[in-house]
Structures are given as structure tokens and as C-alpha cells.
């Protein structure tokens, strides 16, 4: 079973619209990261959320960590074509150095 479930799997919207994507788990996690990956490149870290209920903003992107630390959301306001990409949530492995466990991601396409 997938430790992290991301939804929706695919999302295509028009420029200027708002959207929210989700990352959910049946387990509590100590911290969670969001990455964005563009085609043919490696993922790039957007944010790390640690505290339950935490909200972080990165320009038009708002990241929220659920109170119970089992879910997270990413909200994009007034989406632009440059936001197109694969959005991945990830959590740290068991021992800190073990590497990241990723969700399957949300493929986002912003149409001009």
C-alpha cells in the first residue's frame, strides 16, 4: 500500500484559476516536504512543514499541514503556465538518513 496518497493524480486548469492538491496518509508523520518536478529534470524542494496546523506561503503557493499531521495541502492562487509540473509530497525515512518516501504526485497543467 502507498504510504502517501496524492490527489488528484491529474489536473488541467486555465490560467488565473485557483487549485488545491492534497497529500494524505494513514500514519502520523513528523514532517513533510513538497517538491515540484519539471519534465526531464529532478525534483526541487518547495517547502518543509513540521508543526501540526502550520501554514507556509511561497508567493502564490500556500502549504498547510493538518492538525493531526496526517495530511497536507497545497493551494495555488491565480495559477500561471509556469506552475505546470509534477507536485510531489515526501516524508523522511525511518532513520533520518534513509531517504525520502514520495507520493505518486499530481500532474498539473496550467493552460494559457
Amino acid at each position: 500500500t502507498q504510504l502517501l496518497e496524492q490527489s488528484p493524480q491529474f489536473l488541467s486548469i486555465q490560467e488565473g484559476e485557483n487549485l488545491t492538491v492534497y497529500c494524505n496518509s494513514s500514519s502520523v508523520f513528523s514532517s513533510l516536504q513538497w517538491y515540484r518536478q519539471e519534465p526531464g529534470e529532478g525534483p526541487v524542494l518547495l517547502v518543509t512543514v513540521v508543526t501540526g496546523g502550520e501554514v507556509k506561503k511561497l508567493k502564490r503557493l500556500t502549504f498547510q499541514f493538518g492538525d493531526a499531521r496526517k495530511d497536507s495541502s497545497l493551494h495555488i492562487t491565480a495559477a500561471q503556465p509556469g506552475d505546470t509540473g509534477l507536485y510531489l509530497c515526501a516524508l523522511r525515512g525511518r532513520g533520518g538518513a534513509d531517504g525520502l518516501t514520495f507520493g505518486k504526485g499530481t500532474h498539473l497543467i496550467i493552460q494559457p
Partner: protein
Amino acid sequence: SQTIHQWPATLVQPVGSPLSLECTVEGTSNPNLYWYRQAAGRGLQLLFYSVGIGQISSEVPQNLSASRPQDRQFILSSKKLLLSDSGFYLCAWSAQANTEAFFGQGTRLTVV
């Protein structure tokens, strides 16, 4: 500043042939190093990680192996490639006391 280099960018190999992908990191010492594979519909899967020279941990049984002959060099190998080894291979590093992972540009491997 730290940089990570991964090569080649693309590779087409016949079934049964050997494989060697190389990754090097510059600008940091004693990094944690990782190999991930990204296959369609399966997301990013951690293959190997290393916390030091000669120290390799494998996450999943497979047809691949990894080696770390130098502090900032990580190599992914196979003696005989299978069709199922096709995918996008990503090398990454993280600092010992930091959870952010920095990814290389990836290698698109197609086994034919």
C-alpha cells in the same frame, strides 16, 4: 555552492548489457547519497542510499547495485539489464543534519 552532476542524460541499452551511471557532488563533504528510480505510474522509488564511503543500503531487491568509491561519488550499476530496468534514474544528496534532498538532472534509461 553545492552542485550535483549526473550522467549521461539519456541512454539506450540492449537487454543483457551492463550499466554504469555516475553521480558526483561538489561543494560539500560527507553527504548522504541516494539513487531513485521514477517509472510511469509508480512515482519516485528509493533504490539505494549511502551515508559514507563503501556504505550502501538497498531498499528493494532488484537487478541493480550501487557503490560509493569516493566520498562524493555514487555509482549505479547492473551486470545484465532487463526491460523492466527502464526508467528515469535520479541521484540526490542531503547534508547529514538536513532533511532537504537535492537532485541531479536525471538519466533516462531505455532498455530495448
